[in-house]
């Protein structure tokens, strides 16, 4: 569940940001020019340091993209700038491997897994947060304790189970379990549901709504941002995942995901760094686009989950 805590963090970082520190004193009293100059120089220093760090973090991406545009022979030289730019690399990748099929496989798995998580976790989170029943706290504790459980602990018996089901070499092990809930998602949604005032569901109850109706008509519409966030987390997790596809899909090349394909690509064409990097760029692109499109969903989603502290 790597990407999840980070997603929370973006949200809290943005929204809990206090008022701009300098705003208040500036209005109250005039600042002597000396102080103002010193502040300006500090600000310039801050930005200079941040620009330097940002360049360091972007350089690997730049090198990878530039190499993806080189000819094979140039990629083997120490050159940094492609000459000529070989845009055809991106076309060649499609000729070498069935990239569209792998993209389709990855998208199918990620979409169904996301659907499964959303559909299965909402009722559980609802029951754990907005209904009273015996054993609720105990159940919540169990959910909490499974968040930390490493997948390696259960992987062997699960594999054996899936062998018996005949699911090895199919996408089912990557999708079906998620229709039965995921501890982290349940936890996040529960935290969000708890913030919705109980008067709203009480009013609906007085009007004769069933628990199911309250959930679908009252809670879910109000929880849209949180649901969007957990959906995004799960989608990215499934899209990027390597371990599960390696276990269950490596046997059948028709079922490979992009992660597996890229790892194998390197070994099949291991001298052709330009094509390997072009394949990597094609793999990364959708995720980056999604990140920029959905930055707001990331941010809005988890502000209310109360996971801070």
């Amino acid at each position: 569940m790597g990407p999840l805590p980070g997603g929370l963090a973006i949200a809290t970082a943005t929204t809990s940001r206090p008022l701009s520190p300098a705003a208040t004193p500036r209005r109250r009293r005039p600042i002597p020019p000396r102080v103002r100059r010193r502040r300006f120089l500090t600000e310039v220093g801050n930005h200079a340091a941040l620009i330097a760090v940002s360049i360091m973090f972007l350089l690997p991406i730049a090198f990878i993209v530039l190499t993806a545009l080189m000819t094979d022979s140039q990629a083997r030289t120490p050159d940094i700038w492609p000459d000529p730019f070989r845009w055809n690399n991106f076309v060649d990748v499609f000729d070498r491997i069935p990239l569209l099929r792998y993209t389709f496989n990855t998208a199918t798995i990620a979409t169904l897994a996301t659907l499964g998580v959303v559909v299965s976790c909402i009722p559980v989170a609802y029951a754990l947060s907005r209904m009273r029943w015996r054993g609720r706290n105990a159940s919540f504790l169990i959910v909490l304790s499974t968040i930390m459980l490493p997948i390696q602990v259960t992987i062997v018996p699960l594999y054996i189970l899936f062998v018996r089901f005949g699911w090895i070499g199919t996408m089912k092990p990557l999708i079906v379990p998620l229709f039965f809930g995921d501890a982290f998602t349940i936890f996040l949604l529960r935290q969000f549901f708890l913030t919705i005032p109980s008067e709203l569901s009480d009013a609906a109850r007085v009007d004769g709504a069933s628990e199911f109706q309250i959930m679908t008509r009252v809670i879910v519409p109000l929880a849209k941002p949180a649901i969007a966030a957990v959906a995004l987390f799960q989608f990215l997790y499934s899209w990027n995942d390597f371990f599960a596809p390696l276990l269950y899909l490596i046997q059948d090349p028709d079922k490979w995901t992009l992660s597996i394909a890229l790892s194998e690509f390197r070994s099949q064409y291991h001298v052709e760094w330009n094509l390997t990097m072009a394949a990597a760029v094609l793999f990364v692109m959708p995720v980056i686009v999604l990140f920029f499109l959905a930055q707001r969903a990331f941010i809005e989603g988890v502000t209310l989950t109360g996971t801070k502290g």
Binding site: E43, L50, I155, V156, P157, F242, L246, S267, G309
Partner: protein, 296 residues
């Protein structure tokens, strides 16, 4: 609730119990498991040299990687918290690498650190270093390559630290300044105690993630092995088993050698280690984590 109860029983409770049972058996998936008592555990601790190799590597990457990650992410978060405007853009840039799928990032780094043509060694040579490291091709440097990769992807921890830094009330700094505290003292006696819960959280997550470290090591070692297909034990964890981590060894035993009993035993030891780590860290944290408002 029902789906989750089924899910929990089938996908968590049953596998936990089953793997406990399998850990006392020999099982290769083809024939029924045969009971062998503690033999798997005995073999693990006394006979399997690769188990200890994997353990050493894992402890190395945790011992070196986690402190470096925390220092790096705290420094970056501190830098991000300083300017009055515009830090939004830097934040996006520094976070970007964590969005890149681990397989692509690992392959990219194998290329960047390529001893002959990679930009890193080109740069080192132009700085006058005649024999730059062989990185992923050297048993000594391969783990360092992975550490650099993890530092590049430190954005998530950085965000958590940034949230923590921005939550420190400004009055505390102002009070400290009036008392005559310098920049370092303000950091040491105000910032550090105030964000100690965040550091604590990152240490727990870092240690647990360290024991599960798999994808990057698999991809990088497989990429430099020059072998045609993955999955086979001899292609991963190299060079010279220098990147054979705990989870990689477990994978090889279970899914390349199909020693399900032995892999289950390793899984249970992993489970106990992680439980123990978590408990130790939580216990000792009372001494060094300062929670605002006391009880938590």
């Amino acid at each position: 609730m029902l789906p989750w109860i089924i899910g929990f029983s089938v996908f968590i409770a049953y596998p936990m119990i089953a793997s406990f049972y399998y850990s006392f058996t020999n099982y290769d998936l083809l024939e029924d498991p045969t009971f062998v008592g503690l033999q798997n555990y005995r073999f693990m601790f006394t006979k399997d040299p690769m188990f200890w190799q994997a353990m050493r590597n894992t402890l190395w990457i945790i011992g070196v990687g986690v402190p470096l990650q925390i220092v790096t992410s705290l420094s970056l978060a501190w830098l991000l918290s300083r300017p009055k405007g515009g830090s939004r853009y830097y934040r996006t840039i520094l976070f970007l690498p964590t969005m890149i799928p681990p397989v692509a990032a690992a392959l990219g780094f194998v290329f960047l650190f390529n001893p002959a043509t990679g930009p890193i060694n080109q740069g080192l040579q132009s700085l006058g270093m005649d024999n730059p490291p062989l990185w992923f091709y050297s048993a000594f440097w391969s783990k360092w390559g992975l550490v650099f990769l993890s530092l590049w992807g430190v954005g998530q921890t950085m965000m958590i630290f940034l949230a923590g830094l921005l939550d420190v009330p400004r009055q505390l700094y102002e009070a400290a300044e009036i008392e005559g505290a310098g920049a370092w003292q303000r950091f040491r006696f105000v910032t550090l105690p105030m964000i100690s819960p965040v550091i604590f959280f990152s240490v727990v997550i870092g240690v647990i993630a360290g024991f599960q470290y798999f994808t990057q090591a698999y991809v990088a070692s497989f990429a430099v092995s020059g072998q045609p297909t993955g999955g086979a034990a001899s292609n991963i964890g190299g060079p010279e088993e220098s990147t054979l981590f705990y989870s990689l060894h477990l994978y090889i035993k279970g899914f390349a050698h199909f020693q399900m009993g032995y892999a289950s035993a390793m899984a249970w030891i992993l489970f106990l280690i992680i439980m123990a780590c978590t408990i130790v860290i939580i216990r000792t944290s009372r001494r060094w984590v300062h929670y605002q408002g006391g009880l938590r």
